[in-house]
């Protein structure tokens, strides 16, 4: 794992993966949307509104998945001071926040025809809303410092503290008697969703997860390049008075165990 702590290694590794992963994401989401909107039957009770599920459930899954990813990255950066873990955690937060917001919005659109209300203060809805607040708090904290390093470290600690909410979201429907239906996909006795609906759901979940990794890689690359530009600026690279030939991958790795073997 520490082999990947070098930004240049990460850049070299992800450059060939990125186009393939993007194509895979596009195929998964296109196929998922086809089966979700056209290729799957309507629900005998809910009619066409059941199709909201194919966005709602994957978005909820991603909201939790991103938070767990963020907390794990936070732990990695605190324990091993892994430089990429910091950047990954920072890059994950806005993606996770967007998915959580998407989940809340689609849930409310689905709740209106089904429950007759846009919003109820039910355990799962409320804990999901708190998850969104935790994301926003993390983003605000990370950006509140002049020194980005300090922001990442404070954010990592907050991500770990906030991780107590994740099991609460997941199990809220089992612990409390709520309006939101109980878990129907990840349960001990197998999914309770009809096979014809499982396929588009699985495709969408995989598609959303792949999409997350595409965006994550893009955001991490962006951050690394921004840091490099900052480092080059500081070293006087763009200063006409002191021309330097400090190029190559060495500037990506400046400060990040640059001497380590690949």
């Amino acid at each position: 794992m520490h082999r990947f702590a070098k930004p240049s290694v990460f850049l070299n590794l992800t450059a060939p993966i990125l186009p393939w992963l993007s194509v895979l994401t596009a195929i998964l989401i296109a196929a998922g949307l086809y089966f979700a909107l056209i290729g799957s039957p309507v629900d005998y009770q809910q009619g066409d509104t059941v199709r909201i599920m194919y966005i709602h459930v994957p978005a909820a899954w991603m909201g939790l998945f991103c938070y767990v990813g963020m907390a794990v990255c936070g732990a990695m950066s605190l324990i091993w001071k892994h430089p990429l873990a910091d950047i990954c955690a920072r890059a994950t937060a806005p993606i996770g926040a967007t998915f959580t917001a998407l989940c809340l919005i689609t849930g409310s659109l689905w709740g209106e025809p089904m429950w007759g209300t846009w919003w109820v203060w039910d355990a799962r809805l409320t804990s999901m809303l708190i998850l969104l607040f935790l994301y926003l708090g993390y983003i605000a904290l990370v950006n509140a410092f002049d020194d980005p390093e300090r922001g990442s470290k404070a954010g990592s600690a907050l991500a770990l503290v906030g991780a107590v909410n994740v099991p609460i979201v997941k199990f809220s429907v089992d612990w409390w008697n709520t309006l939101h239906q109980p878990a129907s996909i990840m349960r001990m006795d197998g999914p309770a969703v009809d096979p014809s609906m499982q396929l588009p759901l699985a495709l969408m979940i995989l598609g959303f997860t792949a999409y997350y990794f595409v965006v994550l890689i893009l955001r991490v690359r962006l951050e690394l390049n921004e840091r490099r530009i900052r480092a080059l600026h500081l070293s006087g690279m763009f200063d006409d008075r002191s021309p330097q030939t400090n190029t190559g991958k060495q500037s990506y790795d400046a400060g990040h165990n640059a001497e380590a073997k690949e």
Binding site: F133, A144, F145, K153, L158
Partner: protein, 221 residues
């Protein structure tokens, strides 16, 4: 243990000499609570219905607003740096500072709460439960809030930020605190809610000093 007592004594003395801090927290609590009758109207039965929630929310906000002074002044004048360098474990010192914070903000709030409960027309059956719940809940608020207070050291606009960080973490205390009073008002035993609040307090007591101390050390790097 000596270090713990010394820091507790020091923080208490500082708070008492400056005096205004504790009074301001209570004043804030009373003013916020007073706003609700203006907002929802003065009907006695409506106020009685929402009294427990209003008192808890106001207490939460009051406790949160006073968080800044747990570490901020010590951070600015360099005391915190010396504390992190001292041989006494930082976790213990943090616990001492949190206890001092609770004694100067949480305790006055508990004393003021029944007064506001009377003004909001709350039924007398709920008073004992309200005080018990606040005795269990407000120390947890101070402990959890200290993490936020330590995380924002050195940040821009720290005061606004701390509310965004800490309020989501306060929600469990609010739910069970208001729930306990609600149960007592309905004539049901509130033991279950109070036990959960005690569990939250114990968890916060054992886990948060480490997180807070860690955050303080980060701020000192």
């Amino acid at each position: 243990m000596n270090g713990f007592l010394a820091i507790l004594q020091r923080d208490l003395r500082l708070a008492l000499r400056q005096g205004a801090d504790s009074v301001m927290v209570v004043a804030f609590f009373i003013v916020t609570t007073t706003l609700f009758p203006f907002g929802v109207g003065p009907e006695a039965n409506i106020l009685a219905r929402i009294a427990s929630g209003v008192i808890w929310v106001s207490a939460l906000l009051a406790a949160m607003l006073s968080l800044e002074r747990v570490f901020q002044t010590d951070y600015e004048d360099g005391t915190l740096e010396l504390l992190t360098l001292s041989p006494v474990s930082l976790e213990l010192l943090v616990l001492g500072k949190v206890l001092a914070h609770w004694l100067t903000t949480g305790l006055p709030l508990i004393i003021a709460a029944p007064l506001m409960a009377v003004m909001l027309n709350m039924d007398q059956d709920g008073f004992i439960t309200l005080i018990t719940a606040m005795l269990l809940g407000t120390p947890a608020l101070s402990l959890i809030g200290a993490i936020g207070a330590a995380l924002i050291l050195g940040a821009r606009r720290g005061g606004v930020l701390v509310s965004l960080l800490v309020l989501p973490l306060y929600i469990p205390v609010l739910i069970f605190g208001a729930g306990a009073v609600e149960a007592a008002l309905l004539g049901i035993s509130a033991t279950a809610q109070l036990q959960i609040m005690a569990a939250i307090l114990l968890l916060a007591l054992t886990a948060t000093p480490f997180a807070t101390a860690h955050a303080v050390r980060q701020a000192m790097e």
